[in-house]
């Protein structure tokens, strides 16, 4: 990234040509992963909205077993958590690894095969859950016939990412590559161990939930987070045309995440029938998470310093920075939530749901949208057709997730206070929550609207309806002439 000697015109042209070749080699598999991801996002959004409405209006779509709340809720989590998120993570891993290693992708067909495995797994997953094969193990609800597809798919992607790295022509290993390499190694291990110890050779009793939360938490922390943080480390400097503020901070951030995050999962079981030291160990791990989060936050902020006006122009940057800010917020909140006194209230309530969506949506999904807006035009050679639609997408999502987070945080907090007071009967708690659940459905509708705009843009781009990508990218507004070399 950081080049000290000034680049000549031929240098620039040569490297632009090289990037185009790399992008051409990635086009088919990466677009396949990314559009599949977007498809599952839409499926998941619809399922999420249905589930949300059912929580305050139990007669909504009553009658069929397929659409009972529990099944829709599980299918929603699988569609967004495993369909959208994992496929998007894999798209990002492949593309960023090729770009940063400065090598073209070889045998792209193999990756298309891997993506197809994942898609087959997802179809079986969602259809299976709706027709009654769900497991009721949070994050691992996929029916028993699904994991082999996922393991095959991600196994190939992991191997290919590592292989690409080993063929690298760029000597400097950028921090994004660190994150990607670690994530593609962690996830297959994590997933296989979890499936093994919960389903194939079930461990006794409460060890299952221990494994379950070790998995559930690390799925976010060691699979989605590293790749999303890595993406931020790539997009921000690229768009504003400045290197990352501090190399050392990025290394501290990486290693402390690796060390502490994996210890943090057990706070989901605070107060539960597990040895108390397990939850305590995780509380310590969660507190230590301040280190990587602050390191990353300072680094991103210092990199952005002086370039904030570019948020006005660049969609990629605006989504990415929204994601980065949410990352800091959700991580701080997560550390505090792991404290015993806090957790005693927030546990078993919608407060946790709000927190999870700030992470999965405000941070992860928004960051991935940033990547979408940056990456897809470079792969298709087309610019985005309509800045207005991008604006609709951004504001619907940003406002939607804010309403979502605020309403469920407040409602969930008081739900927890009331549940902890046996003098308050259940009906009062349920009645009190209705207004917040209703607000959540509104927020979900808004987010759904944003996704519709996003889907339109994506389809238009794939159909070749945008401008040829020759000049600059599609901005919200054209930057002032002296705004500098803005990309993205």
């Amino acid at each position: 990234m950081a080049t000290t000697t000034p680049l000549t015109q031929t240098d620039r042209e040569r490297s632009a040509l090289e990037r185009r070749e790399i992008d051409a080699s990635c086009r088919v598999p990466v677009l396949y992963f990314a559009t599949s991801a977007a498809f599952w996002l839409l499926v998941g959004t619809v399922l999420g909205i249905i589930a949300s409405i059912k929580l305050h209006s139990p007669y909504f779509l009553t009658g069929s077993p397929e659409l009972t709340f529990g099944r829709v809720r599980m299918a929603h989590l699988q569609a967004v958590g495993v369909g959208w998120s994992a496929m998007m993570v894999m798209a990002a891993a492949i593309w960023l690894m090729c770009r940063l290693s400065r090598v073209a992708l070889i045998y792209p067909t193999l990756l298309v095969f891997a993506g197809t495995m994942w898609n087959i797994g997802m179809i079986a997953d969602v259809v299976g859950i709706l027709s009654g094969d769900a497991q009721s193990v949070e994050w691992l609800d996929a029916p028993s016939y699904v994991p082999p597809f996922f393991i095959t798919g991600v196994g190939i992607v992991s191997a290919w990412t590592v292989a690409t790295f080993r063929r690298r022509r760029e000597l400097h290993v950028y921090v994004t590559q660190w994150y990607i390499l670690a994530a593609v190694f962690w996830f297959p291990w994590l997933y296989t161990v979890a499936v093994l110890m919960i389903f194939w050779m079930p461990a006794t009793g409460v060890i299952q939930p221990v494994v379950n939360w070790w998995f559930g938490h690390n799925y976010l922390g060691l699979w989605l987070t590293p790749i999303a943080v890595g993406t931020t480390y790539y997009i921000i400097p690229k768009v504003i045309g400045r290197p990352v503020h501090s190399y050392y901070l990025s290394i501290i951030g990486f290693w402390s995440l690796a060390l502490f995050y994996s210890w943090a999962g057990m706070h989901h079981l605070i107060g539960g029938p597990i040895p108390a030291w397990l939850a305590t160990a995780s509380t310590v791990g969660s507190m230590m998470m301040f280190i990587p989060v602050i390191a990353v936050a300072i680094n991103h902020h210092m990199t952005m310093l002086g370039s904030f006006q570019r948020l006005k122009y660049s969609p990629a940057l605006r989504f990415t920075v929204f994601g980065a800010i949410s990352y800091t917020a959700v991580s701080f909140q997560g550390s505090i939530e792991a404290l015993k006194d806090f957790s005693e209230v927030a546990h078993f309530t919608h407060y946790t749901v709000a927190h999870a969506h700030l992470g999965m949506y405000g941070f992860f999904t928004m960051t991935m949208f940033g990547l979408f807006y940056y990456m897809v035009p470079r792969l298709t050679g087309r610019e985005w057709a309509s800045p207005t639609l991008i604006r609709v997408h951004f504001w619907c999502d940003a406002i939607g997730i804010t309403i979502y987070f605020v309403s469920l945080s407040i409602g969930g907090w008081w739900q927890g206070r009331m549940l902890n007071n046996p003098n308050i009967p259940m009906p009062n708690i349920i009645e009190y929550l209705l207004r917040f659940l209703f607000a959540r459905s509104l927020a979900g509708g808004l987010i759904g609207l944003g996704h519709l705009a996003f889907a339109l843009l994506l389809v238009a781009n794939l159909m070749g309806w945008g401008r040829q990508r020759s000049g600059g990218p599609t901005y919200f507004v054209e930057p002032a002439p002296n705004a500098g070399d803005v990309q993205g």
Binding site: A134, F185, V206, M266, E431
Partner: protein
């Protein structure tokens, strides 16, 4: 060492640490936990589920009860609230969800162990001690038949509605007012026209029914009297149709009745 190797070894070591500490060590510690008998020869607790209850676990899993119900009672020291200027703790037990907290031994036969993470409804770890079969079926058919304020989904698809043949209802038929059984899963009311037709058709028998059942017979010459009769009639059973649990519903309820995790005293539960 190659950069890739550094990352690989580092990622391996950091991750292994949590795997060893959070998974393998507790595994080794708890894997062989045994059921308990106060004195040798006593009944063991817990016992593995069998028969219908075991099949019921699958129904519970498939329909995601877990996403609204926990199965863990927390200790008398957990959580707090203020009462008469004093801080008190232990809401779960005070709510009657169990007589003690649950511990790891209570779950040794659970596959999967469904502790749950959300309390939209009450905790179910000990629900087997609270209700009988006759309560569960109408509740599952439509929770609002029991608790008008409930937001629990109806599980009417676990029941069938069929015509009574031979004038004799099945033993399993739900005893529940027709407003809940005519259209299972919903709350039914006849339209004005339908009600007029019903009244006209059965004008000879309906008043008898109502007069036998109440000390003050409805005055059917007034609109108010007719409305009262309608309200009453809706709470009576249908004559020629019955709603019957499917085997799935029966096994689910068998499972719920077996949920008695927070009752039997265990030596490790000292508060």
């Amino acid at each position: 060492m190659d950069r890739g190797m550094v990352i690989f070894v580092g990622a391996l070591l950091t991750f292994s640490s949590s795997w060893l500490g959070l998974i393998l060590y507790p595994y080794w510690q708890m894997q062989n936990e045994q059921p308990y008998a106060k004195t040798p020869g006593d009944d063991l607790y817990p016992r593995p589920l069998g028969g219908a209850a075991l099949a019921g676990v699958k129904v519970y899993q498939a329909n995601g009860c877990l996403y609204c119900h926990t199965q863990q009672v927390r200790s008398a020291k957990f959580g707090n609230w203020w009462e008469d200027g004093q801080m008190k703790t232990g809401a779960d037990i005070r709510r009657g969800w169990g007589t003690r907290r649950t511990v790891s031994r209570d779950y040794i036969y659970d596959r999967p162990t469904m502790l749950g993470t959300m309390r939209t409804g009450p905790d179910l770890a000990n629900v087997g001690t609270r209700y009988a079969e006759a309560w569960h079926h109408p509740h599952l058919l439509n929770p609002r038949a029991i608790n008008g304020w409930s937001t629990m989904p109806s599980f009417a698809f676990l029941y069938t509605r069929e015509k009574v043949v031979g004038g004799q209802k099945s033993d399993k038929a739900l005893k529940l007012g027709r407003e809940w059984t005519v259209n299972p899963g919903y709350r039914w009311r006849p339209t004005d026209a339908e009600w007029a037709a019903i009244l006209a058709r059965r004008v000879s028998t309906l008043p008898d029914v109502s007069q036998a059942a109440t000390p003050n017979p409805f005055n059917l010459t007034t609109a108010a009297g007719k409305a009262e009769l309608l309200a009453f009639w809706l709470t009576t059973d249908e004559e020629d149709y019955q709603v019957i649990p499917t085997p799935e519903a029966e096994s689910l309820v068998a499972y719920l009745l077996e949920l008695r995790k927070a009752e039997t005293p265990l030596p490790e539960v000292k508060e």
